[in-house]
Amino acid sequence: MSTEISDALVVPSKQAHTGKGLGTGNPADAFVIEPPRKRTAKTPRRTRTNFEMLAWLFMRLSGVVLTALILGHLIIMLVLDGGVSKIGFAFVAGRWASPFWQGWDLLMLWLAMLHGANGMRQVINDYAEKDSTRLWLKGLMGTATVFTVLLGTLVIFTFDPNI
């Protein structure tokens, strides 16, 4: 018989015992190993929106656009005309004098922030186990995103080179 258990073999379960068990009323059912977030007995009510699909599509499309925008940005900023050494207030002011570069930077700001925020939203959805934790994390992230996007937009449009 190999049922004698040596302590070296006892590996604590990473899954928490909630003690809630299966909810069948049988006391023996309380002692089970439950996954972090089990499917609820009742299927959640449907939202009937296309939000998740639009978010998914946005990730694909913004990703393609961002690749071009960011690679272009990096080449201009870091490679062409002496690389980083040329970057200064005057250089940025010169670029933002043109509506084209204003538009480029604005688009890059919005797409990158929304792309990143949506990715973070999915990470939070995946890993925040408690509903309240999820709500708080998403709230914080949403606030930070809105703040950064609005501040960036404000700066791009109200930038005064004669400051």
Partner: protein
């Protein structure tokens, strides 16, 4: 080869001579019996077996000859019923379709219950949430109007469209290999989507819109990260991730 012969061929002799080479294999099984120990425990069992036998044969041998308390599910033992999906050497497989020689018997072979579902005892998990997700996608024929007096005909091409997803045996190997499902059991999971796919792309079925609506929701296909764990785990070789992507494409093309 047309005449049956009682004499052994050279090839058969070779197979018989080499066929009974027994080896000692260690099975490291993650056992969980709350009546004995509140935490799961890895227990080693040593067996002398033919490496061409299956992992399920080893489990049976342990249960019948060494330790009758070992608990696991198995029914047909031929890869059709889908009862004995388990995590063997860290990968979801059917114990009845995995040969010992294919999972490196030189090292201890680890066996655990599938992940993401409540472990009741040893290798037995609570499959209710899994089947609940399956039921939610309405895996039955939905039609409108009167039933025809004859059978519902379908061309070979139309049948071919969803042939891959008809092979599912609901063993839960795919769903319990999905990292999204591990973290959030509310996700429908690959198996439910595969079975929805089987009806969404069936030309005889008229409930595709309803099923797509269900899978378009928060916990539907958009949670899939195309990790490909499900395709790798499927003991029936279903291209699970491809099926999920086809449902996504159907949603995108129907909504725009």
């Amino acid at each position: 080869m047309s005449t049956p012969t009682v004499e052994h061929s050279a090839a058969l002799d070779a197979v018989e001579a080499g066929g009974t080479q027994l080896i000692t294999v260690t099975f490291r099984i993650r056992r969980f019996n709350p009546e004995e120990h509140p935490e799961p425990v890895w227990v080693d069992y040593q067996l002398v077996m033919d490496p061409k036998e299956r992992v399920l044969d080893a489990l049976n041998k342990i249960k019948w000859e060494q330790d009758g308390t070992l608990t696991y599910r198995r029914s047909c033992a031929h890869g059709i019923c889908g009862s004995d999906a388990m995590r063997i050497n860290g990968r979801n497989r059917l114990a009845c379709k995995t040969l010992i020689k294919d999972v490196n018997p030189e090292k201890p072979i680890t066996i655990e219950a599938i992940k993401g579902l409540t472990v009741l005892k040893d290798l037995v998990v609570d499959m209710d949430p899994f089947f609940q997700a399956y039921k939610d996608v309405m895996p039955f024929l939905i039609t409108k109007g009167n039933d025809p007096t004859r059978e519902r005909l379908q061309s070979a091409e139309d049948r071919e469209r969803f042939d891959d997803t008809t092979k599912c045996i609901l063993c839960a190997a795919c769903t319990s290999s999905c990292p999204v499902f591990w973290n959030d059991g509310q996700y429908f999971g690959p198996a439910a989507i595969v079975n929805a796919h089987r009806f969404i792309f069936d030309s005889r079925d008229e409930g595709a819109e309803q099923r797509l609506e269900i899978l378009n929701d928060r916990e539907g296909v958009w949670r899939c990260r195309t990790t490909f764990n499900c395709s790798e785990a499927c003991p029936r070789g279903i291209e699970v991730t491809k099926a999920i992507q086809e449902v996504k494409r159907a949603l995108v093309t129907r909504r725009f």
